[in-house]
Amino acid sequence: MNTYLSVWKLRFVSGLQYRTAAIAGMATQLFFGFVFIMVYVAFYAHSSAQPSMSLEQLATYIWLQQIFLAFVMLWFRDNEIFNLITSGNIAYELCRPCGIYSFWYAKLLAQRLASAILRCIPILLVAFLLPKPYNLTMPPTAATFALFVVTLLLGLAVNIAISMFIYISVFWTMSPVGSTLVIAVIGEFLAGMIIPVPLMPSWMQAITYALPFRWTADFPFRVYSGQIPQSEAVWGILIQFVWLAALILLGRWCLKRALRQVVVQGG
């Protein structure tokens, strides 16, 4: 456990070093959050339809996406791991006295946390202070908020378990771009990152409900705004646990198989 903690700390500190990157990231996220909401405002402006989500809830949903982007996006690469695999240096990793799966998991977790912690508070503040209808609203009750925190963290855990597959797939493709792209693009769409899941047609919603992706983003964000009632949220947490266990088991199995056929590149 200590090993993981120190990996974690190292990552965290090196993440903090990139001050400019963090500021730039925040500016970007604020901008995108704003643009997305602006588009929705335009859609809602003259709409005769009754969408299943109010504009207020939608703005909150978008802001949460931006604030916790580092938690929910799949497009988050650790090039060190990719290089390890493609350059054949994976051999060093194999010499270490701890499991690769947990080691990488800890590393990815630390990265995402470092990146999110730095960025979330300023964006949170700005988003709260924006004029209507662009602002982020408070969760209805303290209990909802507590549930949100739990579901968000579990969502993060599920998300990393999913992204582990991207790294594992590189053992076969030997180039990270392709698999990241395919998994990330599909996964993020199904997580409601392109348009919120409630605005999708019902058949599409059915698909997203059957897959793990929405449990990383869509589910906690809707818990936050109270669209998902508390009792349902508790059930959701259970489902998150099931997904997490299933994905980790599957991931470990795939990694084991991948390591068995490691091709060490170059000499």
């Binding site: 400019t20 995108f32 643009v35 003259h46 709409s47 392709g178 792209l181 693009v185 047609p201 599409m204």
Partner: protein, 260 residues
């Protein structure tokens, strides 16, 4: 030009080495805008229209900007990835060769997989044109071509400008995504749906509106007089790329006095 083709052929050979990844990438590249398009479609399915614009009009808008973006990403990708070239010190290598740095950077990356993205935009372009009740006269076709070409110029200009920044700092370049990705995201809807100041910014500062929204009004027959002005507005892209190239030259000079 001949040298550029040589660069492309050598990059093709390299990429063909990783076959599986190449196909995954092509598929992925085609999927990216597809999910975005699906999002667009779902939104219109839900709401019907946005500020008087129909789905096919928005799709045309999206296709034009998507095509320019894909084209400039394919060709100017070297600039997009430039900060890594500086970071690894490989830019030194380019400086000891007797060719212009711009050409060499252009030739340093060329992603064939982006063709997937281009193809997808092209299909949407024809699809939306066929569904729209407009007659494609020669001047309209010309305007469409001009829109795409000048759009490429603007995006390439943005890539060059961003790359130039990495001569000063390798950090924080991410913020330039606001203009490239952000510009693409915004310009995929007709600019009139946004707040006034946003529209102004993307018309007068980064003239994406000039290669997209304004001439589109002409193509869709929504103008009230001054047709020629709408038709030729994409030429703003030509004006835009010049200061970007200038910035690049200043950047190279700066690099050579500070780099290590």
């Amino acid at each position: 030009m001949y040298l550029y083709l040589k660069y492309i052929s050598i990059l093709f050979k390299s990429q063909a080495q990783y076959r599986l990844s190449f196909w995954l990438l092509t598929v992925g590249q085609a999927l990216t805008p597809l999910t975005v398009l699906a999002g667009l479609y779902f939104m219109f399915a839900q709401f019907g229209q946005v500020k008087g614009w129909t789905f096919y009009e928005a799709a045309l808008c999206y296709a034009v900007i998507g095509l320019s973006y894909a084209l400039s990403e394919t060709f100017a990708r070297g600039f997009d990835m430039f900060s890594s070239l500086v970071g690894s010190g490989d830019f030194d290598r380019l400086l000891v060769r007797p060719r212009s740095t711009i050409l060499q950077v252009l030739g340093s990356k060329f992603e064939f997989a982006r063709l997937g993205r281009m193809l997808q935009s092209l299909i949407v372009l024809f699809w939306s044109l066929s569904k729209l009740p407009i007659e494609l006269t020669f001047p309209k076709l010309f305007t469409l071509m001009l829109m795409i070409v000048c759009g490429v110029l603007i995006f390439s200009g943005l890539f060059v400008a961003t790359a130039s920044l990495s001569f000063w700092t390798i950090q924080g370049i991410e913020v330039a995504n606001v203009f490239t990705d952000g510009g693409r995201e915004m310009a995929k809807y007709p600019l009139s749906i946004y707040e006034k100041w946003v529209t102004n910014f993307f018309t007068y500062v980064i003239p994406l509106g000039c290669v997209n929204y304004l001439p589109l009004l002409y193509v869709l027959g929504r103008t009230d007089g001054h047709q020629l002005r709408y038709m030729l507005s994409p030429l703003a892209g030509v004006v835009f790329i010049l200061p970007c190239l200038l910035l690049w030259h200043i950047g190279v000079r700066h690099y050579r006095s500070t780099g290590s």
